[in-house]
């Protein structure tokens, strides 16, 4: 049984560019959450998707947007990248009360 997968593994962008990160949930999971983890910090909640709708959002600007597809996979989009967006982006999937994480995408903004 495949766990949560994310792509790409690493990404380097320049300020002002746009980026799309992808996540496939664990089989049987219908809810996807995204987190941003800055170096040396705990993950911070960005938003959560359920039934193709954004169900809950953390304290992140509108530059961060997402989407969930009918197969429950999800994308995280970040527009107008800033240096401060450099971080590890984690995707987690769940079907009830426990979230399981993917390996993350390391985004570096130059």
């Amino acid at each position: 049984d495949a766990g949560v997968t994310q792509s790409p593994t690493h990404l380097i962008k320049t300020r002002g560019q746009q980026v799309t990160l992808r996540c496939s949930p664990k089989s049987g999971h219908d809810t996807v959450s995204w987190y941003q983890q800055a170096l040396g910090q705990g993950p911070q909640f960005i938003f959560q998707y359920y039934e193709e709708e954004e169900r809950q959002r953390g304290n992140f600007p509108d530059r961060f947007s997402g989407h969930q597809f009918p197969n429950y996979s999800s994308e995280l989009n970040v527009n107008a990248l800033l240096l401060g967006d450099s971080a590890l982006y984690l995707c987690a999937s769940s079907s009830a009360d426990t979230q399981y994480f993917g390996p993350g995408t390391r985004l570096t903004v130059l």
Binding site: P43, Q48, Q56, A92, S94, T98, F101, P103, R106
Partner: protein, 116 residues
């Protein structure tokens, strides 16, 4: 506001010894779940153990066990017979189980090093 505090930024212990990581949290809700996640240098966040707040019995998973004190809002992790593979960042987290409000709130982590 919901918060998690991990007061030990770093810990180290000899292999085969027992170590306890501390965590306190704050919430006004009664129905929630608590978790310990492990993040090794590979950066994959791995679930170690979970505890339902309504259960009085402390959760155990092989060498890992918790001491859950609901009134004190304390949730410590005990690792017995520590192994080199336990070296990692450990994050305490909780989620308030209300439909549509299921974000995980994390602490800042404890870096645990197992010394051979």
């Amino acid at each position: 506001a919901q918060t998690v505090t991990q007061s030990q930024p770093e810990m180290s212990v000899q292999e085969a010894e027992t170590v306890t990581l501390s965590c306190t949290y704050d919430t006004s809700e009664n129905n929630y779940y608590l978790f310990w996640y492990k993040q090794p240098p590979s950066r994959q966040m791995i679930l170690v153990i979970r505890q339902e707040a309504y259960k009085q019995q402390n959760a155990t998973e092989n060498r890992f066990s918790v001491n859950f004190q609901k009134a004190a809002k304390s949730f410590s992790l005990k690792i017995s017979d520590s192994q080199l593979g336990d070296t990692a960042m450990y994050f305490c987290a909780f989620v308030v189980y209300v439909f549509g409000n299921e974000k995980l709130t994390f602490g800042t982590g404890t870096r645990l090093t197992i010394i051979p």
